[in-house]
């Protein structure tokens, strides 16, 4: 864990404190959960209260492939961290590339879904309460996926350039916490929007 505070007085006994990066990321995740919770509450509160169509049952399809991809990317990012910890940077880059690819498949799934909803079904954010709450909740999540993808691609870029080493495993670990969080939020969004809400 942290070495910064342990090595103050060489003769002294161990003085261990939690790791700053992980603690900071956990705090950020708590703050993010509060934001998502409000959007989920709004979605549930307005479920079935739209004054006009289209309704979720008419237009929503289960995003099975996207969901599988996003959830698997949690596993691949985990392998990216563990391989980097062992110093296998090439392998780490490969796992990172797989993670980014899976995330991109998920995002393109959302993009296709939105394109069809807007152009085929005529559902926009101003159509009805379903449109309002759907686009904002799913859009907020997609924004978080996009931010995570930017950060992961940056790391991947460093990996390809050969600048990644086991020294950076801790930072990648912190980033992976964020990615796991984004995946966990999707589980909630999926259940609320596509299972219960449909």
């Amino acid at each position: 864990m942290s070495s910064h505070s342990a090595a103050l007085t060489p003769s002294a006994s161990e003085w261990q404190l939690p790791d700053k990066g992980k603690m900071g990321m956990l705090c950020l995740i708590v703050a993010e959960i509060a934001i998502f919770a409000i959007f989920v509450v709004a979605y549930i509160f307005y479920m079935g209260k739209s004054l006009s169509g289209p309704t979720p049952a008419q237009v929503l399809k289960l995003p099975i492939i996207g969901t599988i991809c996003l959830l698997s990317s949690s596993i691949s990012v985990h392998f990216a961290v563990s391989t980097l910890e062992k110093g296998k940077t090439q392998l780490c880059s490969l796992w990172l590339a797989i993670t980014v690819l899976l995330g991109l498949i998920f995002l393109s799934g959302t993009a296709t879904e939105w394109y069809e909803l807007i152009n085929v079904d005529g559902l926009t954010i101003r159509t009805n309460l379903f449109g309002t709450t759907f686009y904002s909740l799913v859009g907020l999540h997609a924004t978080h996926v996009a931010v995570g993808l930017i950060l992961l691609s940056l790391t991947l870029g460093f990996g390809i350039a050969g600048k990644l080493s086991d020294r950076h495993a801790h930072r990648l670990d912190v980033l992976s916490y964020y990615w796991h969080f984004v995946d966990a939020v999707w589980v909630v969004v999926f259940i609320v929007v596509y299972v219960v809400g449909r």
């Binding site: 505070s5 900071g24 705090c27 950020l28 409000i38 307005y46």
Partner: protein, 568 residues
């Protein structure tokens, strides 16, 4: 008991610093400005926060003065109804988001690393980012005076009230961009708050010096830890609600649009899920100051340290479940009313524990009536009254009668001014010597206290009465036959005293910067780590990392014959 040179007292530190300190004289002002703009030092960022908050305190205070002049006599036409609406909106928004939050974060930034024996915050650059994004939010809010209506004219600040109820904020009822500036200003300040709160939590959890277990952590960092945790949970709903409101206003979404089935009450819920914890976010740092100041000036350790921590954590939890007591008049139904009445009453229990702990700390102590202490005593009295009117308002049927009246305004000003602002003043008198190396003037301090206290009670004691007589808040004038005129005149007279007191304070702060008495490292004979280094502390705080063995490390150092380690 303190073997192996536990802490480096000031002598070692000052010997090490002075040669390295760049000479302030002869520096171009641009260089100095650049140092302040680009600083990542927690002490400088703390001072930036405090200075920024003081500027906004004067601005928002001026807005309050305009409000009070307008209400002094019936049928007054000093300012127009439109301007009156803008004044109370800007006064409330500024005081909460751009005075209260930054001044408390400022003290937290300055004091927390010093008190836990760290050299800086956990994430110094995030710290600077959080300050500047909050500062930008404040500027954006005030830019609305110029840009609120775009090309159509100046002087159109937000006028939707600080809680901006729907549907008043919709495009239809709030055209132009003044409300958008309000949304963005508050939104950005929220991002800054979360950043700083995150920094404080990580600093307190991960950066404590050797030997400072959570049980030995001074109460100020403890309370800042709880406050910051509450910021995460409370600011999120506000941020989410602001995003929704922006979607409504710019993209035509229907979150708060009743025409399309949306709900105005949902905004109230979302706002107050933020809004009530926010009160505790603001008041816990005030408690934190009291926890440090009252023991030092009573010459006793704090009474009931574990009870104090437990009460704080309890307040943190319960405060998340009381928000709808702001909404009794909406009609929540019997279950909702009962739940929120009881929750609100229960939160007064841990708060009461704190008051008893402070009293027990003072009890039998050798009290020194220096300015920080007299402000703390004022705080104790006024906070008690604020709590009692709070319990009155928690009773739903009474709230139906008094809700949205001046009684409510008087109640929350007792909390925000009588409790929080008093402890902020106390904190200034107590820590100013640490920040600038000079003491504030005691005589001016006492003038400040008495003028402000007389003014405060003239204004806010009397304000309860027109509330009971039925005067609603946010009306820009009233008729003469209502019987409110005399009370309002007394309130306005009180305002004059408060302004006089505040001017004493401002003059004191400016005067002491150059001509104040030299403070030395430890002017109050205190016992927490910030007094173990020089005043002002060097950039690295402590020449050697301190090691602590009790809750009062400096006491142990000064009293080797009876250190706290024997008793804890």
């Amino acid at each position: 008991m303190h073997k192996e040179s536990p802490m480096t007292p000031s002598q070692t530190a000052s010997a090490a610093i002075d040669p390295m300190k760049p000479p302030q004289a002869g520096k171009l002002w641009l260089e100095a400005a650049n140092e302040w703009f680009s600083t990542v030092d927690h002490k400088r960022i703390g001072l930036l926060y405090i200075g920024y908050a003081l500027v906004f305190l004067l601005i928002a205070g001026f807005e309050a003065v305009l409000i009070r002049i307008q209400l002094a006599v019936p049928n007054n036409h000093f300012i127009s109804p439109q301007v009156f609406n803008r004044m109370f909106t800007m006064h409330g928004t500024t005081m909460v988001f751009f005075v209260g939050m930054p001044i408390l974060f400022g003290f937290g930034n300055y004091l927390v690393p010093l008190m836990i024996g760290a050299r800086d915050m956990a994430f110094p650059r995030l710290n600077a980012f959080s300050f500047w994004i909050s500062a930008f939010g404040g500027l954006l809010l005030y830019f609305s005076f110029i840009g609120g209506d775009g090309l159509y004219g100046a002087g159109t600040a937000p006028d939707v009230g600080w809680f901006a109820y729907a549907p008043l904020t919709s495009r239809l009822f709030s055209p132009g961009h003044s409300t958008d500036y309000w949304i963005l200003g508050v939104f950005l300040s929220g991002i800054g708050s979360v950043g700083t709160a995150l920094n404080l939590v990580v600093t307190i959890v991960c950066m404590r010096c050797k030997g400072m277990t959570m049980g030995r952590l001074p109460l100020l960092p403890w309370l800042y830890l709880v406050t910051s945790a509450m910021v995460f949970i409370a600011i999120g709903p506000l941020t989410a609600a602001q995003i929704m409101l922006m979607l409504d206003r710019f993209l035509g979404a229907h979150f708060f649009d009743a025409q399309a089935g949306g709900s105005a009450v949902l905004w109230m819920h979302f706002f107050w899920i933020f809004g009530h914890p926010e009160v505790y976010i603001l008041v816990l740092p005030a408690f934190a100051f009291a926890n440090e100041i009252i023991p030092v000036f009573s010459r006793k350790p704090i009474f009931g340290y574990p009870a104090m921590v437990a009460a704080t954590v309890l307040i943190g939890f319960i405060s998340m479940g009381v928000w709808a007591h702001h909404m009794f008049t909406v009609g929540l139904g019997p279950a909702g009313n009962t739940f929120f009445t009881l929750a609100t009453m229960i939160i007064s229990v841990p708060t009461g524990i704190k008051i008893f702990n402070w009293l027990a700390t003072i009890w039998g102590g050798k009290i020194r009536f220096a300015t920080p202490m007299i402000f703390s005593i004022g705080f104790l009295f006024q906070f008690l009254i604020a709590g009692l009117t709070g319990i009155m308002l928690s009773v739903a049927p009474l709230d139906w009668q008094l809700g949205n009246s001046y009684f409510v305004v008087a109640h929350f000003h007792f909390v925000l001014v009588g409790a929080i602002l008093y402890m902020i003043f106390a904190a200034f008198y107590y820590w100013y010597p640490k920040m600038f190396g000079r003491l504030l003037n005691e005589t001016l301090g006492k003038w400040h206290f008495w003028l402000f206290t007389i003014g405060f009670h003239l204004t806010f004691d009397t304000m309860h009465i027109p509330g009971v007589l039925g005067m609603p808040r946010r009306i820009y004038t009233y008729e003469a036959d209502r019987g409110w005129g005399m009370w309002n005149m007394v309130e306005t007279v009180g305002m004059v005293f408060q302004v006089a007191g505040l001017l004493c304070f401002v003059w004191n702060v400016i005067q002491a910067y150059r001509h104040g008495e030299e403070a030395g490292p430890d002017p109050w004979d205190a016992w927490t780590l910030e007094w173990a280094t020089t005043s002002p502390p060097p950039a690295y705080n402590f020449a050697e990392d301190p090691v602590v063995h009790s809750r009062r490390p400096l006491w142990d150092l000064k009293h080797p014959e009876a250190p706290d380690t024997h008793f804890e």
